[in-house]
């Protein structure tokens, strides 16, 4: 009798023990490896290449400030801003995180970011982009420069095209003046698995520039305004390239996959890839063929590119505000920011640090001039604003259909603009 009692108590105790063990396991797993006596600051961004540059930069920082350790956290761009929103909302975001012009407004407006005093040695276009309601909301980290045309020199050679010819390409709704389309036709293999160009639903790399080069606008202030005749010309041209001429991959491949075209280019399945400096390091590291950079095609209104900047914002809910500010100051200093340029990962936004970038690529035999030359002319501003995320989501179905060739361009732009502005909301 007593024996039995003890057995059931034994069972109960062992159940408790098992649960305690599992809980202990979870606690162990959850422990942050806080090194003794040091404060840990976390930095979040989406670019793998730049992350490596940051690690070197922060190693140097920790040498100067041994009491602060900085950890870098990379989150894929495709889910970066969704994850950031839920993380910041939930109070579990990193101390410092990258923000882009398009998505930072709601964070600023709801007091999630700390204000930063601007400095004259920062790239002014980036400072402007991240200033809202009179305050600068992040430390400029890099500027994307303009958009240019990467080309696969081997494929060009096979097709008998001289790379120098690329610089004078122009697109036009008027076939007589259009030199881009014939060139692309020459460079397409036609077997459905290899293409000439990455025309597609790509805001920064493709269509913002086409809109600008046609003399149109994409947005005015916080409102979407792409329903205009010039933008319509631009989109009609692009949609034709994809669906009629088939010189670019089908939109069903590129609409939902921002990396598809870059991957095709890297695999040697695309002759020309129009993009920005944000892909330069990847291409340099991974392209198994000879390649180069040319100017992007001009349009009826000239060559108009978008330029974008990235800033590092400080989380106002950070547990270590002083350490965080120290790290931010380092990131905004010429020395700290120069690491980003030293391996050519990105163009630093601190003016004094930009030299390193040019030197690096010059030493590697890559001419990055096209990215910068295009900025000497007019530019089209990168969009943003309070409801940008919701607006951009709302216009996506229409733009997808338009690029798939299933929805007429004029109708698509009209409906998309209506939907986007409605979603941007009061």
């Amino acid at each position: 009798m007593t024996g039995r009692m003890r057995f059931s108590t034994l069972i109960a105790l062992s159940v408790v023990a098992v649960m305690a063990l599992l809980i202990a396991g979870a606690v162990v797993l959850g422990r942050d490896h806080e090194p003794a006596g040091r404060t840990v600051i976390t930095v979040r961004l989406w670019d793998q290449q730049v992350a490596q540059a940051y690690r070197r930069s922060f190693d140097e920082f920790t040498r100067r400030r041994p009491d602060i350790e900085v950890r870098v956290n990379v989150v894929a761009y495709s889910s970066y801003f969704d994850a950031l929103r839920t993380d910041v909302a939930g109070g579990s975001a990193d101390d410092i995180f990258w923000i882009s012009n398009a998505y930072f407004a709601p964070y600023a407006d709801s007091g999630r970011l700390i204000g930063v005093p601007p400095r004259p040695d920062w790239e002014s276009s980036v400072v402007e982009q991240f200033t809202r309601n009179g305050t600068l909301w992040g430390v400029p980290q890099l500027t994307d420069a303009g958009i240019a045309l990467y080309y696969n020199a081997d494929l060009l050679a096979t097709a008998g095209v001289d790379p120098a010819a690329l610089d004078s390409l122009r697109w036009s709704p008027d076939d007589a003046q259009d030199t881009l389309r014939p060139m692309l036709a020459r460079l397409t293999a036609g077997d459905g698995r290899r293409w000439a160009y990455n025309a597609g639903n790509d805001l920064q790399g493709i269509y913002l520039n086409y809109i600008g080069s046609a003399g149109g606008v994409f947005s005015v202030g916080d409102r979407f305004a792409f329903d205009n005749p010039q933008a319509s010309q631009a989109f009609t041209y692009l949609v034709r390239l994809i669906n009629v001429d088939k010189v670019a991959p089908p939109a069903s491949d590129t609409n939902d996959n921002g990396d598809f075209s870059r991957n095709m280019f890297l695999q040697g399945r695309m002759a020309l890839f129009q993009s920005g400096t944000y892909n330069l390091a990847q291409i340099a590291a991974n392209a198994p063929f000879r390649w180069g950079v040319a100017l992007m095609p001009a349009g009826p209104a000239g060559r108009v590119s978008v330029t974008n900047g990235i800033a590092a914002a400080g989380n106002s809910a950070s547990k270590h505000p002083d350490a965080m500010r120290a790290v931010l100051a380092w990131m905004g200093s010429a020395k700290g920011n120069s690491y980003l340029g030293a391996n050519g990962a990105a163009v630093p936004a601190v003016l004094a640090a930009q030299r390193a970038y040019f030197d690096f690529w010059a030493a590697n035999g890559v001419d990055v001039a096209p990215f910068f030359e295009v900025l000497r002319g007019p530019r089209i501003p990168a969009p943003g604003g309070q409801g940008f995320a919701a607006g951009f989501d709302a216009m996506k179905p229409y733009f997808d259909e338009m690029f798939l060739g299933r929805l007429d361009v004029t109708a698509a732009l009209a409906r998309a603009q209506r939907a986007a502005n409605a979603a941007t909301g009061p």
Partner: protein
């Protein structure tokens, strides 16, 4: 007697305490919270603002939710009959208990055991327009997941593919539970196997059929993982199933109040459907097999 009841009550509530906590905090309280949320606007970042019935008005008039409901209804109409019929066919084949049937049965259930999200990612590759296995096999480029006409049927096909084995198990048990005497008697009377199937097996499978249909409808109405990985809501929102719409409203468009409204409406619909099915079938399912 009195003290035993008291002790009984104390013991009972001790035993019940954890599950009571769980039910109250994680099932009942959320119902109240979701109703409260439906009257507010929140973008996850800013403050939660009271907006009264604005969300309700918006959701009931702007058509996105209506579209989801229609899509979900179409999806259920595609999936449930198909998986039920195929499950029945497979079960009747397996019920013959030819050698090796157990192996087939195991194989058929494999897709159901796997995580739906993993299955969906697998099929995303199989159906990819470029580099996908199916298109390579066919030698043609078919836009399985981006053609508005094909997207929902394909999502349905993947769901049916996943569920058939599971449904088969239930029908198999049901068929095998039918006493042999009934079949023997019918065979002696000269009934063909088809006649036996229609007049004996099917009617006696009614309880199983009821179960399979009800659970099939309820689980089909909540499919999320498959949509998330395969189409993200689909071309022109053609695969925007209700569960996905709720998720997208709350965590994509950051309109949590609207998502709450949709959740409430979904709940009401599912409850009504379950109750209706119970009432309809209640009169028709008991058979005495003694």
């Amino acid at each position: 007697m009195c003290s035993r009841r008291l002790r009984s009550t104390a013991t009972a509530y001790t035993l019940l305490a954890p599950s009571l906590l769980g039910v109250a905090v994680f099932l009942l309280l959320p119902m109240l919270v979701v109703a409260w949320l439906s009257l507010h606007r929140w973008d996850l970042l800013g403050p939660i603002r009271y907006v009264g019935l604005d969300n309700w008005r918006a959701v009931l008039t702007d058509g996105t939710f209506g579209n989801s409901l229609l899509v979900t209804a179409a999806f259920v109409a595609l999936v449930v009959p198909a998986q039920t019929a195929l499950g029945l066919v497979a079960a009747s084949l397996l019920a013959r208990q030819l050698p090796g049937s157990a192996v087939f049965r195991t194989v058929y259930v494999l897709p159901w055991i796997c995580a739906p999200i993993a299955i969906a990612v697998l099929w995303r590759w199989l159906l990819a327009p470029t580099d996908g296995a199916v298109n390579t096999l066919l030698g043609r480029r078919v836009e399985w997941l981006t053609d508005p006409g094909l997207a929902l049927p394909m999502v349905s096909a993947v769901t049916v593919w996943t569920n058939v084995g599971y449904v088969t198990l239930f029908f198999l048990a049901g068929i095998l539970a039918i006493p042999k005497d009934i079949h023997d008697a019918a065979r002696l009377d000269g009934a063909t196997s088809f006649q036996r199937f229609v007049k004996i097996t099917l009617p006696l499978l009614r309880p199983t059929l009821f179960f399979v249909l009800v659970t099939g409808i309820i689980s089909a109405a909540q499919v999320f993982d498959t949509v998330y990985a395969l189409t993200g809501g689909g071309p022109q929102n053609r695969t925007d199933l209700v569960a996905h719409r709720i998720y997208a409203e709350a965590f994509g468009a950051a309109a949590v109040g609207r998502a709450a409204v949709m959740a409430i409406i979904l709940f009401a619909i599912l409850v009504a459907a379950t109750v209706a099915q119970h009432l309809y079938f209640r009169r028709r399912i008991s058979y005495d097999l003694a």
